[in-house]
Amino acid sequence: MRRYFRCFLFGFFLIFIAVPTFSSPFSGAGTILHDVRPGKGITRVTWLSEWSSPLEGTPADTRVFIADSGKPGATVFIAGGTHANEIAGILSAVLLIENAVPSAGRLIVIPDMNMSASTWTESTKVPSWVRIETPNGPRFFKYGARYTDPVHQGAPDPDRYVHPKGGDALEGSEARNLNRVYPGKPDGTLTERLAWALMSLLKQEGVDIAFDLHEAGPESRLANMIVANPKNLDLAALAVINLEMDGIRMKLEPSSDAFHGLSHREWGDGTKAYAFLIETPNPAQSTENGNPVEDPQYPLAGRIATHLASIGAILDAWNMDCPPDKRIEFDALPDWRAVAASGAGAFLNW
């Protein structure tokens, strides 16, 4: 009897304590499973750690949605949520996952690029969740932070952060800013490992065009701007001209030579991808009382429309001049004018 009891205790220890403690946690463990409902264009869903194993099981591992037409064409990458409080970028990426159906080429989307940043909110004045009404009821999206959660980072912030390639000494917390640490390191801090994993994806998948979707305070110089790696500045210039004809005024800047670690600079320099960063004005990023969704001057739907229109204009410019087997075409794409008019909810799946 005593023997059976010992066996029972050993089995209990093995099943409920030892195995969960010492085995690898699931990908993305400890973070939020965001509400993303893929549309019929999505052919595969995986995790970013597939491209860089040091990210596996960390709070920064994140889902990757792939829409492959199965036909030759360009590979386009889109990231939302590099800064998890820049909600228009996240919703734009989600709208693409839920609606886009490529007919030539391939679309790879990561809607919540920094999952660790999604887990916390920097200010009590901004919402933790954003509610979007759809024809079938509300859906909720996490309004997170700009930086990786310090608890997840695995290292204390330095007094000052200097990118390994040099440049200005920034606030120490910038070590947790994903858009300051590219190309990252496979054995670095959590934020550096995340950056490294994305660089690995861009290289291994042969990404041709890459977008990083951001927001800035409305008074910021960056608001309503496309930042382009110098090698693809002309493509962005053509897009700016075409956007203006559609009533969308975007400014244009090339990546700085001296400011390292930013996506548009390092993605473009370190891979073959044409790299772009798009910024829209988020009122909640300039004043503590700003509303990130229903501001009358800068409503969320309008900002999402700007992101989608800018992506569309750049892809149109790409298609004008690329080889025939490098076009990116879509059977379905969320129409930015309809998003501006009807709101994002009309384009969210149920």
């Binding site: 800047e253 700085s256 030579d257």
Partner: protein, 197 residues
């Protein structure tokens, strides 16, 4: 009867005001006839202040309008050898200056030397400002004040002249000013300024 006259008078005055409005819109973006087709190829584009708007004007001129202009955002005097028209795109950009490894003062010296070369060789100058209010400010004003008086025509996109800065400078220097509503309209002006080949 009196009421009827009042009604007719009101209708006429509204029509007159609308007519004046239409005339003002028509006047906007109009190139003086004496300048139409008066600028010769080849043309060359550079910035004054390292604004990335120069890249937009280059794409507008070459990709959209097929004008085939030469381009260097940081052109030197020798760059414009053989050119008959110089397009200066106005606006100071700290990022652009940093990328070119130039201070604003150094870029102003560069632009002065390019202008001197153009004047020496009879190259006519078109100054363009397409960046709106974002490309105005103390640093941008310095390059604008340098370039406008030596220009044969100045083209400004809406917003850039909200404070009348270009209007004042052009009036003082006797330089024609063409204001347009958009960057693509600025392209149309540029095309109409160039002689047909």
């Amino acid at each position: 009867m009196v009421r009827k006259h009042r009604f007719v008078a009101r209708v006429l005055s509204v029509a007159l005001m609308a007519g004046i409005g239409v005339l003002q819109v028509c006047a906007q973006g109009t190139v003086p006839p004496s300048l139409q087709g008066s600028f010769l190829q080849p043309g060359y584009i550079t910035s004054a202040g390292q604004t990335s708007d120069a890249a937009i004007v280059k794409v507008l001129a070459n990709t959209r309008l097929k004008l085939g202009f030469g381009y260097d955002i940081a052109a030197k005097p020798q760059s414009i050898a053989g050119a008959k028209t110089l397009v200066l795109v106005l606006g100071a950009s700290n990022k652009g200056l940093g990328a070119a490894g130039l201070s604003l003062e150094q870029d102003i010296e560069r632009v002065k030397s390019v202008i001197a070369e153009a004047q020496k060789n009879g190259v006519r100058i078109i100054s363009m400002h397409t960046g709106g209010t974002a490309r105005r400010g103390e640093a941008s004003n310095q390059v604008i004040e340098l370039c406008v008086p030596v220009s044969d025509v100045v083209v400004v996109v809406e917003g850039g002249n909200n404070d009348g800065f270009f209007t004042d400078l052009c009036e003082k220097a006797g330089v024609p000013l063409v204001e347009v509503a958009s960057i693509s309209a600025a392209g149309n002006v540029l095309k109409s300024l160039m002689a047909q080949q």
